[in-house]
Symmetry: C2
Subunit: 749 residues, 2 copies
């Protein structure tokens, strides 16, 4: 995108966050919008002030354009009669949400009506009164983010997106809820439905994603905001339920949110006392508010979440006033509110109400309408969000134009972060090595890459789960991202792997140019696997820096030694499992990881020192598997190694060649990348008529038959490791040059 770009509204998933707008085009839009008369509810009954405007309490963020509509609405309720009228419309609108959810679940005969029925009031206030977004450009950079951590209640969000005017959720989409190919899947999926920020459903992930979104905002605000222009300024809202609050991941992420003082993170805890197994009394009697306070959060209790609109509004206002802490608003609701026979029971959590109960609920809530009906006055009420959203964006674009004029360098960088366009030639920063370069552990070589990339990739930030000095992940040119230094890029996650992964998903999905990486020992991917799987599913290009990747870590023993982990990730869709063997391959792995913005990468790295091998290359890594050394003519035997065992394969090749054998040595860094090569290329590396193949990898042999064929030999470890010096374990478990040589000879007969 050129520096003097015009206002661009893009719905394409490939470039989802747009910073842009020259002052001329955007001011035109602003002017247009400010003349539109916008009907609106009272935006806040508390202080005669729009809640949305309270988002911008600081003088620099006051604006007049879109406010006018709100002010008119305000005027309308200054009489008692007007207020009653407005409340009636509000309740009608809230019931519209409830019935869209009821009807969609009923039509699908599958889904979760209980949450949308209970959370419709808070959802309504958020999308209609509080949040700043542009439904016609859901990727507007400075939008408020919303996360439904209790993802099973997705019909709430679909109904809200539909009413708010998002083109992604039309009436037809609501009618196709949970059907093949629809835009309204069974849980919120950012890659399916534009307007959904992250993928939720597995409980606790969403609140942790939200911590990542809020972290990204705080970080970017600290880097880019100027005293005269706070160009980054938005909130992250979450709705989470009892289930999310029981999951350990939420405690991890929320502990960090408190530590970091993420004041613009506002979470609504849907306190409905019901989970799938019944009353939460049977398993969840802790004091949630007190726990959150202990985690450094501000807490508020809304006692009537079913009809207490003013209570909800007041809570949001209070939450915004607390700028140095995240806020948890406990909203006590009735699950399935409105259903006379099923509300307040697990029966309404995860099943359609059934025709009879739907009818009873229609009676009870005085809802005479056909399924999927949106009353005209409700429709008309919500229709203002299209012009208002455009105005918000235009206003921001104007602000950005001013920013760009005054701070061109920062503006260019922010634009890059928001579009995902990297500085040209960034990959030249990657180090390369020759066989004469000193040998080193790939975890150290990884640190060289990270530090080289930090200089050229403004979006690179991340850290480790309390193993920075072991994972070698510190960016030396930066300090720690902390409450008082949020502009820095080394994130200290503490011993919270699961939260770390999900927070990185949030960072990655905040802006396409943000490149979060995170680190722990490879074996502890087990702690964060649910978050890693979501990275893969939701197309978040997180870089997982996983060191101590085998028995090669030595004395810490089998609890710390990964065995099955390589195989377990090779089996996972849409993720790159990379195991580089030296410096060039580590650099190659980083190149691949950075380029794959819609697919996460896991780098398995050694604790132990490895030599720089002849024949390795960045280009080779990009093909997944490639020849690092060969004999003249057709090989008799192919030796295949990965990571730290590539050295063993190479040495075994040398040995065998000394004995006159024709040997090819292949590095197999990434099975996924190799799979994507042409058949010709694959055949050129692994000719089908060379069936004598030996693989060597310090991990489970599971899956290697695919590469070595039924006549090959896989040398690996199909047991747990042991506590001893690394060299000893390698020898005892047969991970040796001798074993590879002997196996090759046995195959050659």
């Amino acid at each position: 995108m050129a520096a003097s770009s015009s206002l661009t509204v893009s719905h394409a998933l490939v470039s989802r966050a747009i910073v842009g707008g020259s002052s001329s085009s955007s001011s035109t839009t602003t002017t247009t919008t400010s003349h539109v008369a916008l009907p609106g509810f009272v935006r806040s009954s508390i202080a005669g002030q729009s809640l949305r405007s309270s988002a911008s309490a600081r003088p620099s963020r006051r604006r007049d354009g879109p406010r006018r509509g709100s002010m008119r609405a305000m005027a309308a309720v200054e009489t008692l009669e007007g207020k009653a009228e407005t409340t009636a419309l509000l309740e009608k609108s809230v019931n519209t949400i409830r019935f869209l959810a009821i009807d969609a679940v009923e039509k699908a005969n599958s889904g979760h009506p209980g949450l949308p029925m209970g959370c419709a009031p808070m959802g309504h206030i958020l999308y209609d009164e509080v949040m700043r977004y542009n439904p016609k450009n859901p990727f507007w950079f400075n939008r408020d983010r919303f996360v439904l951590s209790a993802g099973h209640g997705c019909m709430l969000q679909y109904a809200l997106l539909h009413l708010a005017g998002y083109d992604s959720v039309k009436e037809e989409d609501l009618k196709n809820f949970r059907q093949w190919g629809s835009k309204t899947p069974g849980h919120p999926e950012n890659f399916e439905t534009i307007g959904i920020e992250v993928t939720t459903g597995p409980l606790g992930q969403g609140i942790a994603n939200a911590v990542g979104l809020a972290l990204a905002e705080k970080h970017l605000a600290a880097r880019f905001n100027k005293p005269d222009n706070e160009i980054v300024d938005h909130y992250t809202y979450v709705i989470l339920g009892d289930g999310c609050n029981m999951e350990g991941i939420s405690n991890e992420a929320c502990s960090l949110a408190g530590h970091w003082g993420l004041g613009k993170l506002i979470a609504f805890y849907d306190d409905n006392h019901i989970s799938i197994d019944g009353d939460t009394e049977i398993a969840f009697t802790e004091n949630v508010d007190a726990r959150f306070e202990a985690l450094g959060w501000h807490t508020i209790w809304v006692k009537n979440g079913n009809t207490g609109y003013d209570e909800i509004r007041a809570a949001i206002k209070e939450a915004k006033a607390v700028t140095d802490k995240p806020t948890m608003i406990k909203v006590t609701t009735t699950i399935g509110y409105g259903s006379p026979n099923k509300s307040n029971s697990y029966a309404v959590h995860g099943s359609a109400l059934g025709a009879k109960e739907v009818e009873a609920t229609r009676q009870n809530l005085a809802w005479p309408h056909e399924p999927f009906h949106v009353p005209e006055d409700v429709k008309s009420h919500w229709s203002r969000h299209t012009p208002e959203g455009a105005a918000l964006e235009a206003e921001w674009n104007a602000k950005f134009a001013e920013y760009e004029k005054k701070y061109p360098a920062e503006a260019a960088e922010l634009k890059g972060l928001s579009t995902g366009e990297f500085p040209t030639g960034w990959e030249k920063a990657l180090p390369t090595y020759t066989p004469e370069s000193p040998g080193d552990a790939t975890r150290n070589l990884s640190q060289q890459c990270l530090n080289a990339l930090a200089k050229v990739l403004p979006g690179l930030l991340g850290g480790s789960a309390d193993l920075a000095s072991s994972n070698m992940t510190l960016l030396k040119m930066f300090g720690d991202f902390q409450k008082s230094t949020p502009e820095e890029r080394n994130i200290r996650f503490g011993v919270r792997e699961h939260g770390m992964g999900a927070i990185c998903n949030g960072i990655a999905l905040h802006s396409p140019g943000l490149l979060p990486y995170c680190a722990t020992f490879f074996v502890f991917t087990d702690y964060m696997r649910a978050a890693i799987r979501i990275s893969a599913l939701c197309e978040a290009g997180v870089i997982y820096v996983m060191t101590h990747d085998s028995i090669g870590l030595g004395e810490d023993g089998p609890t710390h030694q990964p065995i099955e982990h390589l195989a377990s990730f090779r089996a996972m869709p849409n993720i790159l499992m990379l195991r580089p063997g030296d410096g060039n391959e580590t650099a190659g792995a980083y190149k691949v990881a950075v380029l794959n913005r819609k697919r996460p990468s896991i780098l398995a790295l050694s604790r132990q020192k490895l030599p720089q091998l002849p024949g390795t290359s960045i280009e080779g890594v990009e093909k997944g598997g490639y020849i690092i050394s060969d004999s003249d003519g057709k090989p008799e035997v192919i030796l295949i190694g990965t990571g730290s065992e590539l050295e063993i394969a190479a040495k075994a090749g040398d040995e065998l060649r000394k004995e006159g054998k024709k040997v090819r040595v292949v590095s197999f860094v990434s099975w996924e990348l190799f799979d994507e090569q042409s058949d010709e290329y694959k055949e050129s590396v692994l000719p089908s008529d060379v069936t004598a193949r030996v693989s060597v990898e310090a991990g489970s042999t599971f899956g290697w038959e695919k590469i070595i064929g039924s006549k090959g030999k896989a040398i690996g470890i199909d047991r747990f490791g042991a506590s001893a010096p690394a060299g000893k374990i390698y020898k005892e478990l047969g991970m040796t040059v001798e074993n590879v040589v002997a196996s090759a000879k046995a195959l050659l007969g």
Copy 2:
């Protein structure tokens, strides 16, 4: 073991918990021991009362035998001089622990000296003054359990076991710390070192195991104790660190511990303010005490954990007095206490001190001794634990003999639970089915098995992570295990998968006859994978009931649909991945799971209804893979299915036979079990010259080349699933009879 068993001391891992002791033999032992003069520290400076005796505050548990030694020790300190002498010996003993740790780490040049140096005082008080155990029978049923959740500090525990007289940790073993084949691996491993209860190291697992151990005690006490004989009565002690407290799993497990009111769980939080990345201020500023209080725990703060022996004692006394809540004692310590230049820094956490600093520490703590030296007075002091432990066990055996006389049925059951011996013929309770039996989802068939087994296996208990009604795991004959009904067997874990798995590990390792099962959706094994891996490593035969095992769950979509999970567990050592296809196979899977007490089992079960297939059998399942239908003569093609796709394979077989093809259909329930069969058997099922093989499984094809060979065809799903009705997804993703038939024909040419 016969009913009138004599006192048996067993060190064999295979039968580790022994309930026994006739009144005659045990009383003899008691008498002998009570005459031994035991030197001892003052056991409690607080109230002139042994802390160990305060464990038995209830009148029924007072005893005189082993107390006498303590009383003599008490008498010895009634003068000021005596007290000073005792304190000097205590400090000497504590420094012995510190230097055993320092020296072992130094010799190995690997390990974690910091924690043992800081936690030696609390460790000393626990093993020397508080805990009830018999070092010569570490499996004595009623022993107190100790868990070092901060497992990296294992040299603390090895030093304590050594001093206390456990034969498993001799001086030689300390000198072989972290070496190949030693009994002192880099983290505590119950399967390597007798006296270690559970396997820790991965942070947070230990505290959750401890919750399981304490649950088991509370459950068994409620089931077996009588007003006149509290035969089950012991404590669970834990030391956990900052890392454990940051991990989400600990919050999950501790929330449950609070909910269940596990009053005999006492956790020491080593509050040393240092983690690997430095001061905990950088990532961990929450109020831990307040969080634990919110979770329903009693909390105490020992401000001087380095030398405040009396403070520690008082805290334990207070903790024991609170019987309706678990207690968290925050003990503020200095990591690496005694090291003049490295204490209170991360430098002392995970590396040897180095010769120079070891020397400086020796100077600083006035420790003139050679490495690994245990001063004679310290040795002599600790030596009393051998007779005292024997006496404790003998006394308990006598109590058990009384119990057995009065309550023979309960005694027999408790004996079975403690030895792991199941009632004979239990497996006859398993249901069997014919093809005429009504079809059903394997999750429902699983419920039939669980409920059948509950009648015959007194150790079966478990539950689900808030999905009991979906996983179908309720035992109908029992109520809920709750604070006030701990005798019941349905455990309500809430949405806490990770904590659930680790708690089940604790239950399984408490007594070999306890058979814990736990449940969630198969995809959410991702949340608990670290705990499942520990089950496999530590030989805890937990039964994982994992339902909704494929895209067959339908509309919930890809966040809920497992794809790579079967492969990921097939690659894991020492675990059985079972995917039964109908009723007989589900029963077979349960038979296998129950019999495998040192290997966990995962049962992948369908949400959707499946037919009862001809040819399936319990015996077949026990072989892992077997023929369910065949044509006459040698087959032309072999169709292989698992779980819900076995039906597809069977139907495709029928189709192909109609067309005159010779088809064998093989069920492949468990790869691990098939691997263990003889070559002859394997060849009989999959003859090597029948290379036309088609596998069908609704999951990743990763690994199937091993079974189908390079000429076979694997039908599976190598992408994420989708949200739609199950039948539709099956069809769209090619999981159909037609596809299997076509693939088979393609192979036959």
